[in-house]
């Protein structure tokens, strides 16, 4: 029983890590390779989650849909919707540089969150949508977790493979050139604006897919899930800690950060019984401290960006351009 419990917990963590890894991969396309400081991950995550929820749930009187479609169609729809919504946002916001872009995207994500919370016709408002079908959800607890993990891992592997291939292709070289020296890339005739938008949309689509997979795993999606801390900042920590610019780094970062995030609670539960509630505050302290330690000793990330003979001078969007 103990062992089975540990396995179940490990399965659950693996599913969450895979979902977060997808988010981190999406962010890696935007930040690691195109240098776009997107701090509105939660917005695209939410658009994906809600789109898939609306497409795949049974019909409901109070809101649009559901359309009772197959979950794969829901996931495809989620990518499409997140990508589509990223297009106008990118069109408007990508002209801003670095921190201006960050605050603009945070703003867009907040507006998306408020719309989702306040428009019952669209999203069932603050109640959220429940009854979302989970693929292979009707079998036993562990079996269904294994099945879902297999699906999520397959999606993650496919995404990783495609993204990695793109990065090593001329497209990836071009993106890095734009990131590291925009004017030089422009001088060589690259359409910088368009390429940036392209990266922004691809990244957003992956984030939408992750949102959809999260909603289906929990069989529900509520506005509470669009919390900037767990849906935006946590992903940033994962990417930076794992190593931005490196797809494997993004995945490793997701794993390490989620393990710290989750296991720290068990660790602080060892405190005496009277401090059970305080332990939860101390847990947040520990998470913060672990983050400091990793950044202290591995500031370039656990798996830094591989040198491809195009060594860049600056990794940061906050340097003067």
């Amino acid at each position: 029983m103990e062992i089975l419990g540990l396995v179940n917990y490990a399965l659950f963590m693996a599913i969450f890590i895979a979902i977060y890894a997808l988010l981190a991969l999406g962010l890696n396309i935007q930040w690691g390779f195109a240098g776009l400081f997107n701090a509105g991950i939660a917005g695209f995550f939410a658009v994906g989650a809600y789109t898939s929820a609306i497409l795949s749930t049974a019909a409901d009187d109070g809101r649009i849909g559901g359309f009772d479609l197959h979950f794969l169609l829901g996931w495809f729809g989620a990518m499409l919707a997140a990508g589509l919504i990223a297009w106008p946002i990118g069109k408007i916001c990508l002209r801003f540089r670095s921190d201006y872009l960050a605050i603009a995207t945070i703003g867009v994500a907040e507006i998306i969150r408020l719309v989702i919370k306040s428009e019952p016709v669209l999203t069932n408002g603050a109640r959220g949508i429940s009854g979302i079908p989970r693929p292979a959800g009707d079998i036993g607890y562990m079996e269904s977790q294994i099945a879902y993990l297999a699906i999520v891992l397959a999606v993650l592997a496919a995404a990783y493979f495609l993204v990695e291939r793109q990065f090593n292709a001329p497209w990836g070289r071009m993106m890095r050139a734009i990131r590291d020296n925009e004017s030089a890339a422009k001088a060589m005739g690259k359409d910088v604006e368009f390429r940036r938008l392209e990266a922004f949309i691809f990244g957003a689509a992956l984030m939408g897919l992750a949102g959809a997979m999260f909603a289906h795993f929990n069989r529900s999606i509520t506005p509470e899930a669009i919390d900037p801390m767990v849906a935006t900042f946590l992903v940033w920590i994962m990417l930076i800690l794992g190593g931005s610019g490196n797809n494997r780094g993004a995945i490793v970062g997701a794993a390490v950060v989620w393990i710290i995030w989750s296991v720290s609670e068990i660790a602080t539960d060892r405190l005496p019984h009277e401090y059970a509630v305080q332990a939860k505050y101390i847990r947040l302290f520990l998470i913060g401290l672990m983050l400091q330690l990793v950044l202290r000793f591995r500031p370039e990330g656990l798996l830094p960006e591989p040198l491809r003979g195009d060594r860049r001078t600056s990794q940061s969007g906050t340097e003067p351009h």
Partner: protein, 290 residues
């Protein structure tokens, strides 16, 4: 609706709220200008400052306004300490690494507040204060203090930046760090000063939020996004811009319920920000492009 009502219930609260945002935004903009990154622990430092003031008020039994200087100094010192222990060694690294570190600091500071002071809602003084009537204008003493303190603190800061040796050094670092270093400015001292000032302003901002409403362990985190919006709106690195930005965000949030459903009040700061960035990509007062 008559003019007095507009002023009493929309404009005055907006100015008070704006002053609180402005105090935080000035610190954010200073850190942007001199250290060149977004400091995400700013809101939680404000919470810490507010609770330090509460501790002084309850332990010494003095009036909250007298406790404010203590809180400003203590929080400034904490900010310098955090920089020394956690941020200093990341200075040569890409700025994004420090941004992430500041996120971790936000969690740590909040957790300290929750462990030390608990999570119950608290106030500096019990009971309610009805506003005074000045020729139809309904203003509370504490609202006057808030606005006056903001003006005074920012005024002193401006004087310091323009007149004193170290203030000029800070501006030099902000304008051109390489040149400043070449001309012999002590980088370390400038950074320390920046943190001391930003931390102190944080405490003031949290304190006045607590004075005008209540103290909660999440109060600063909720203010973080509007404060950032204010700093960017005014133009990065511009102190007077941050004040202007803070006031605009505060007033716009309060006025917004006249035009849009009140559940969208929180979106107002960002709507203005997006519009402003489209028209003037470097903010109202032409800030830096980092």
């Amino acid at each position: 609706m008559d003019l007095l009502e507009l002023i009493n219930f929309y404009l005055i609260p907006g100015i008070v709220l704006g002053s609180i945002y402005a105090l935080g935004a000035v610190g954010i903009t200073l850190i942007f200008a001199i250290l060149r990154y977004a400091h995400l622990a700013h809101g939680d430092l404000a919470t810490l400052g507010a609770f330090i003031a509460l501790a002084v008020v309850t332990s010494l039994g003095i009036s909250p306004l007298v406790a404010l200087p203590f809180a400003i100094i203590a929080t400034g010192a904490v900010a310098i300490g955090i920089d020394k222990v956690f941020y200093e060694h990341l200075r040569e690294r890409p700025k994004i690494v420090t941004v992430m570190a500041s996120l971790g600091i936000a969690l740590m500071v909040r957790s300290v507040v929750q462990v030390v002071w608990g999570v119950d809602t608290q106030t500096y003084s019990r009971g309610i204060v009805r506003p005074e009537d000045y020729f139809g204008l309904r203003i509370r003493d504490r609202e006057i203090y808030t606005v006056l303190a903001m003006v005074a603190l920012v005024g002193v800061l401006q004087l310091f930046l323009t007149r004193s040796k170290w203030g000029k050094a800070m501006r030099a670092m902000s304008d051109n760090p390489n040149l400043a270093l070449l001309s012999g400015i002590d980088n370390k001292k400038v950074v320390m000063l920046t943190w001391g000032i930003a931390g102190g302003l944080c405490a003031a901002s949290g304190f006045f939020l607590g004075l005008n409403t209540e103290l909660k362990s999440m109060m600063g985190w909720h203010m973080l996004l509007p404060m950032f919006a204010a700093a960017i709106l005014g133009g990065v690195g511009r102190v007077e811009g941050a004040v202007l930005g803070g006031l605009i965000v505060g007033i716009a949030e309060e006025m917004s319920v006249l035009f849009i459903p009140s559940e969208y009040k929180a979106a107002m700061a960002f709507a203005i920000l997006l519009f402003m960035l489209l028209v003037r990509p470097t903010g109202l007062l032409k800030g830096k492009v980092l």
